[in-house]
């Protein structure tokens, strides 16, 4: 498209003012295009982060796409056939069962923080299509840490509730 919308002037018949207006016009068109794309895409590709308590208390509708984060409840991981995995995500007050099929990330462990993305089912169970644990073993995913703090399970300053986390000396 190169300069779609700009007239092609082979013979220079433009005044200084016209040239400037043309340039400003192109600039506004490009910025308008960018702004339009940003607004359009933002409305479609945002996912909200929810804790198990959010899901229970806000009575969220089934079918909604979201991120669910919390701790993987100790003893809740069951592996089935064909890489099916079921586990429970808890924030200490409420728990949500999660089903996932595929390879779990390296840092997925019982008792540790996890963020899953997927769809809430009708019986308050969660079908995850991705499990994220792209965090370093020193700390929790930020959203999970915040939600645990809210539930009073982790005070700021404490080491992350993680058996391998080294206590940071001040």
């Amino acid at each position: 498209m190169t300069t779609t919308g700009t007239p092609v002037f082979v013979r220079g018949g433009m005044t200084r003012k016209q040239r400037r207006l043309t340039l400003i016009g192109i600039a506004l068109a490009v910025l308008g295009l960018a702004a339009g794309l940003v607004l359009y895409s933002l409305s479609g590709s945002i996912t909200l982060f929810q804790s198990p308590t959010d899901i229970v208390e806000k009575n969220l509708q089934p079918g909604a796409r979201m991120r669910l984060g919390g701790l993987v409840e100790a003893g809740s991981v069951r592996r089935g056939q064909n890489m099916e995995v079921a586990f429970t995500v808890t924030d200490g007050r409420n728990s949500i069962p999660v089903a996932y099929r595929g390879i779990l990330p390296d840092l997925f462990r019982e008792g540790q923080g996890v963020v899953t993305e997927g769809v809430l089912g009708p019986d308050r169970s969660f079908r995850a299509d991705s499990v994220l644990a792209r965090h370093d073993e020193n700390y929790m995913p930020k959203e999970v840490a915040d939600s645990l703090k809210r539930q009073g399970h982790w005070k700021p300053g404490d080491p992350a509730p993680n058996p391998n986390a080294p206590a940071r000396s001040p």
């Binding site: 190169t2 490009v30 960018a34 940003v38 479609g44 590709s45 982060f49 890489m83 390879i103």
Partner: protein
Amino acid sequence: MSPEIGHFALVLGLALALVQSIVPIWGSRRGDAALMGTAPPVALGQFFFVALAFATLTHAYLVSDFSVENVFQNSHSTKPLIYKISGVWGNHEGSMVLWVLILTLFSALVALFGRNLPLTLKANVLAVQGWITAAFLLFILKTSNPFARITPAPMEGRDLNPLLQDVGLAIHPPLLYLGYVGFSMSFAFAVAALIDGKLDAAWARWVRPWTLVAWIFLTAGISMGSYWAYYELGWGGWWFWDPVENASLMPWLAGTALLHSAIVMEKREALKVWTVLLAILTFSLSLLGTFLVRSGVLTSVHAFAVDPERGVFILAILVAFIGGSLALYAWRAPTLKQGGLFAPVSREGALVLNNLFLTASCAAVLVGTLYPLALETLTGAKISVGPPFFNWTFGPLMVPLMIAMVFGPFLAWKRGDLLAVAQRLTLAFAAAILATLVAYAVTTGGPVMAPLFVGLAAYVIVGALLDIAERIQLFRAPAATSLARARGLPRSAWGAAIAHAGVGVMLLGIVGETAYKQETIVQMRPGDSVQVAGYDITLQGLVPVQGPNYRDLVARLTVREGGVDAGTLAPAKRVYTARAMPTTEAALKTRGVSQLYVSPGDASTDGSIALRFFYKPMVLLIWIGTLVMMLGGVLSLSDRRLRVGAPKPSARRAAAMQPAE
């Protein structure tokens, strides 16, 4: 060497930085050559002391001095030598020292090689560099002392994060920082010009090589980081639109725009005010990147520190430098004289279009990166902006940019003729149509749009080659004449064409990887076979292997291609013993520019293991494309015009030898 020497050297460096911040600029205001002359030796002294501090820290790592907390937290006595060295910058404190070391290195280079700079400009540039150095040294000494001791000294260290124990990542941060910090030079030149109120074509000629150096390193750093993520994280992805990646992409986009607008300023004295603004914005984005990564406001493997004091300090630096320079800009920019009129359809016009699309895409990335932070601060809602957002904003903005990119070099300065250029590009259009049809015919599946993008890539590559062919009159003049013209062609012209072709090569790799990749996940027992993209892969067995500071569970796979043995693959599940941290080691088989990629999941108790196979056609072109772009940058940098710098008598002789552009 005692760590205290390093600490003391940092303090001395800070003292010198303060001198450099004040004295030269005071001299330039008073027109005092002696005061201005203090800048170069002080800059060299600063580099010496920061380098001494860095050497002291490196020494502490090499001898595993665990009485230094930083070494204790990030090193281990059994760690291989290269990771003892890279461990120095594999953590917050050490990486900040590296940041400042590179900053003072650039100041020292200006002091040493900036002989043809006017005295006032040189003094002002070094003073601005002094401000940045002082701010960051203060930050290190106040909040992130790398030399803090612990008593009693522990016997053994905690080891470097295993994900960072990789050759690619050992050199990724220094490259990235050379890029980030290199843009401080264009920033310093811009602020110095605003202070002086003097801005001419010679200024652009001085700024361009520094910007080009920073751009080449940043390109290398981003590319290296992307390849690291591709093979080390085990997900097979090469770009995640992670905030930390975006933090490095934004200065790259702005820096690319700056490179192009500086050409207009140098050749035509137009776009002055805009170029200065871009120089300021580019470094501001580098600072923003440093803030996002270092303050811990984002969550990723890069955030070593979750420490509010540091975040507030860097935020203060950010506000002071960005706010200060923009205020100075608002005050002084109107006094700069604009020159060089041009018609919308012209080389200048094309470069303006380039700048518009690059800055607009940069703004889109900025919105996507900061929106979740802003929303959480304002409303408390936690959201994530996923890759679809970036693909749907960034992608559509890149397409017109790439179409226009081919036209640009063919358009004449001041006033061009689109139709005439389109005629000269017939071959590029033909190549695009042919490539689209071929891609459509030979590929099955994949998105409908993919063949069109293959066509776009072919158009960009052929268009860039046509630019060179046209300039040397290939096939139109006798071969000897063409050869002579090719030799006489300025290196910057070669550089531009090659860099543009590199963009096309990279695009081809991106299309191949995203549109035509094949993926299979299977649970396998020893003896099981699977077929992936024409390869028969058999799991021979699972073998435990002991490494220097880790244990591997290796899945031994044999690969057959059309019944013929094609070697083995050995992906592994690895556990680093010091931190008991598991990682996934993917295995790759390269065929031309395509790759077969295997990454293992968890082994089950019944002796089976989950394996994820990818076939990634043309994937290597992504990084080969960036290498080609860097080659273009290096060629451009070696152009005589930039080495000579300011217009000098000898420049006339050089001009006589080369045909006019």
